[in-house]
């Protein structure tokens, strides 16, 4: 049964078009068809958050969103957002605080954290914990992730840039 559909989307700043099966969810499309391996699949039932990507400026579960639904949408992944703006601050802070271990959850965690920083810039540790609860991390104890996000929140509150990590 072939129901392939033509879709166009703005992906990480570039207009792309493709023909895909409606059953292909967004992350399979990104990973298998476009080779963007940043978003990961941890459960495909919307529980773990490893597949988090940004659609039309909002984080979504990439496994619970069809690629056909993204027709005409703006889609951003860690690859596109990396080393600029909020994400680069978060990346430096995550590295400084060792807020990742195996890294499988990291791209999703970063995108979730970025949305928090944009929507709740005054969050405290508890609010940070609440916000990132949609993203499982099985390696860290979450503590260092909260530390890293707090560093970015506080730096931004003081209008500071998070300073890049260098070797000692």
């Amino acid at each position: 049964m072939n129901h392939k559909k033509q879709i166009n989307m703005m992906l990480n700043g570039k207009q792309i078009s493709a023909e895909i099966e409606p059953r292909r969810h967004l992350v399979d499309f990104l990973r298998e068809d476009l080779g963007l391996k940043g978003p990961h699949l941890g459960c495909e039932q919307g529980a773990c958050g490893a597949c988090t990507v940004r659609v039309n400026g909002q984080i979504v579960r990439g496994c619970l969103y069809l690629a056909v639904q993204a027709d005409g949408a703006t889609v951003e992944t860690v690859e596109g957002l990396t080393e600029q703006g909020v994400l680069s601050d978060l990346q430096e802070a995550f590295l400084r605080h060792n807020a990742l271990q195996c890294g499988f959850c990291t791209s999703g965690m970063l995108l979730a954290a970025a949305e928090l920083i944009e929507h709740q810039p005054k969050s405290n540790r508890e609010q940070v914990r609440e916000w990132i609860s949609g993203n499982y991390c099985r390696c860290t104890g979450y503590h260092s992730i909260v530390d890293a996000i707090m560093e970015v929140l506080e730096a931004r509150a003081d209008g500071r840039q998070v300073k890049p990590v260098t070797t000692s």
């Binding site: 969810h25 579960r61 949609g134």
Partner: protein, 284 residues
């Protein structure tokens, strides 16, 4: 886990959506937020032949005030409810409940209408719609009909919504100044389906309770009102003794169902605790 193959069509407006629904009948499934449907499809627990995407149907969108009613379109997302000033002003119960629904990424897509139409007994919106006396606006091939929330949920995952109908919106009486609410939820992890939950609302007049709505969720096959407890409270002023009697009534009248980690008895106990807390909070 990959979904079985299906076709996909995006409806431009309500008329088209209804037409598509009639055309494809049982083989079709509507997709709005898709946060329940797509998980089910990925798991191959459902294999529809076509999905009808209604996210472009403008008639289902938006939050607005019409006369003395607050209108919430079926496509309004949990995030929109969480951040809407109109909701905060006219249905503060919903603003308080929204953060309990799953997690941000899911709230960004999941919809008011989707949650009501599924009628998951553990979900927040069905219970809230009961507590708020919401009216469901339903459109089918033969036009529009309105159903009160209390008549909308009829059995496990079953509402009065017919296969060829679409839930368009809900209308909720604007919050009044003599109104108090309380939202209580117990979940083992934040964002999980509730172990037990309660959406409560009272309107008082001169210290006496005029109307009382106690809508429990995740206690039975459908969101359940403690009607005996409500009737008992109405016309009285809330005090410790009344609370205790109301708790006993609610525990008696609600036939709880066990879930995977909570026995019937535990649920019965917990619903009483939540009721006690809600009434204490709303006590003038």
């Amino acid at each position: 886990m990959k979904a079985a193959a299906f076709d996909y069509v995006k409806a431009k407006n309500l008329v088209e959506a209804l037409a598509l629904l009639s055309e494809h009948g049982e083989d079709a499934r509507l997709i709005a937020g898709g946060q329940t449907l797509l998980a089910t499809l990925n798991l191959r627990l459902s294999e529809p032949s076509i999905l009808i995407d209604i996210t472009a149907v403008s008639e289902l969108k938006g939050i607005s005030v019409r006369g003395n009613m607050l209108r919430i379109g079926a496509l309004v997302t949990h995030t929109e409810i969480e951040s809407s000033d109109l909701i905060a002003q006219h249905a503060p119960l919903l603003k308080e409940a929204a953060p309990h629904i799953a997690h941000r990424a899911i709230r960004n897509l999941g919809t008011w209408g989707g949650s009501l139409a599924y009628g998951d007994p553990a979900a927040e919106w069905p219970a809230c719609s009961l507590a708020l006396d919401a009216i469901m606006i339903i459109q089918g091939p033969n036009g529009v009909r309105k159903v009160n929330a209390k008549d909308f949920f009829i059995d496990l995952y079953t509402t009065t919504l017919q296969a060829d109908e679409i839930l368009v919106a809900s209308e909720i009486p604007l919050a009044s100044s003599n109104q108090e609410h309380s939202f209580q939820e117990l979940a083992r992890r934040h964002g999980d389906y509730a172990a037990v939950g309660l959406a409560a609302l009272i309107r008082t007049d001169k210290g006496k309770v005029q109307t009382c709505r106690l809508a429990f969720f995740s206690v039975a096959a459908i969101p359940t009102m403690a009607s005996k407890a409500q009737a008992f409270i109405e016309g009285k002023s809330i005090d410790a003794a009344l609370i205790q009697q109301a708790v006993n009534l609610a525990r008696e009248e609600i036939e709880t169902l066990a879930d995977i980690t909570n026995s019937q008895e535990t649920k019965t106990h917990l619903l009483g605790v939540l009721l006690e807390r809600a009434l204490t909070k709303m006590m003038p």
